[in-house]
Amino acid sequence: MIGLGIESTAHTFSCAVIKKNGKNGKILSDIRKIYRPPEGEGIHPREASRHHIENSSIVLSECLQEAKVTIKDIDIVSYAAGPGLGPCLRVGAVVARTLASYYKIPIYPVNHAIGHIELGKLLTGAKNPLVLLVSGGHTMILAFLNKQWRVFGETLDITLGQLLDQFGRSIGFASPCGVNIENLASTSSKYVPLPYSVKGNDVSFSGLLSASKSIVLKSKADACYSLQETAFAMISETVERALSFTEKKELLIVGGVAANKRLSEMLKDVCKRHGCKFFVTPLKFAGDCGSQICWTGLLENQIKKGVSLEDTFVTQSWRLDSVTVNY
């Protein structure tokens, strides 16, 4: 079974081809083009969708070429149906629907967030993990129970990715800013106290963002270091409480911020205390990519034969805890 996956929820337009054999999947290709806003500016949905419109056919043909397949070898096509930016989501959906309609290929709408989790499980071998999903669109702690991913904590305002990006842009970095902040933070060890806001098992980052911006004039490096230490400590506390409660023996980090080494370091310590295995999605596939959509579509194909084109929706705010997982 060979699948094609199309990702276009935000700044990345990506296509991937995966060959599924039983429970195993082999990524044959994963091609991406990423919209980069000007330095100091955030993602503009219309501009990002323009980028995707211009690059979609190029990415698709490169993807098929690298996988050494033609469109006629593709058994199913899946696309990210949400959550995400409306104009961007529609571009990926149009590409998928065109292929499905013209070449008579079954089509699957996929929840982008579930895609992160399923790809993380495929690539790390985690079986039944507590999942930390940290990206520009999500900050959630999740565990799977009775056919659904249940939320054991999330952000009450901005996500961890937004915190890093908005702070990074305020000091002149271009989005995504996580790597630049991590590099600058590694040059400092001076901690400046910042607001630490954990409510129940949820976190709030907006006060931390404002306070971090207010200390940046003294030292950018100290501000980056203190921001990371505070935010990641908040995440670690909530993850530790969720591990205690769920008694899971595996922790899996997925999403773009999974690439941050300091976050992994802190969470590894949490895992040691709980006798828990630690898994993190490999760097290349931590961020948005076609593989996450393709693999989830292939999993859905195990239990259903695609959806009719009339039902191929896009939904900007499609929560992953509203999706029933039957495979």
Binding site: I53, V95, R97, T98, L99, Y102, E310, D311
Partner: protein
């Protein structure tokens, strides 16, 4: 003064299969238009015809036509 504007765009000289694929690719997103704006898409043999109608805001109409034509371009490029 209220202004009603109608725009008809016809894509000709497609194959029947291409015309159908383009219409089916765009149809599911053609919902929830702002008040006063409507779009009807017809598939006639080897043509796709878009009929836009709008009252008042020209900006909404221009933005919608722009996005629909961009999606048509994507669809046609994907088919090759």
């Amino acid at each position: 003064m209220s202004l009603t504007c109608q725009v008809r765009i016809s894509l000709n000289n497609l194959t029947k299969e291409t015309a159908q694929a383009v219409k089916k690719a765009l149809d599911p997103d053609n919902v929830n238009f702002p008040k006063g704006l409507s779009l009807n898409v017809e598939n006639i043999d080897n043509k796709v015809v878009f009929n836009f109608e709008n009252e008042n805001s020209m900006k909404k109409l221009i933005g919608t036509i722009d996005e629909i034509l961009a999606h048509v371009q994507v669809s046609l490029k994907v088919i090759g």
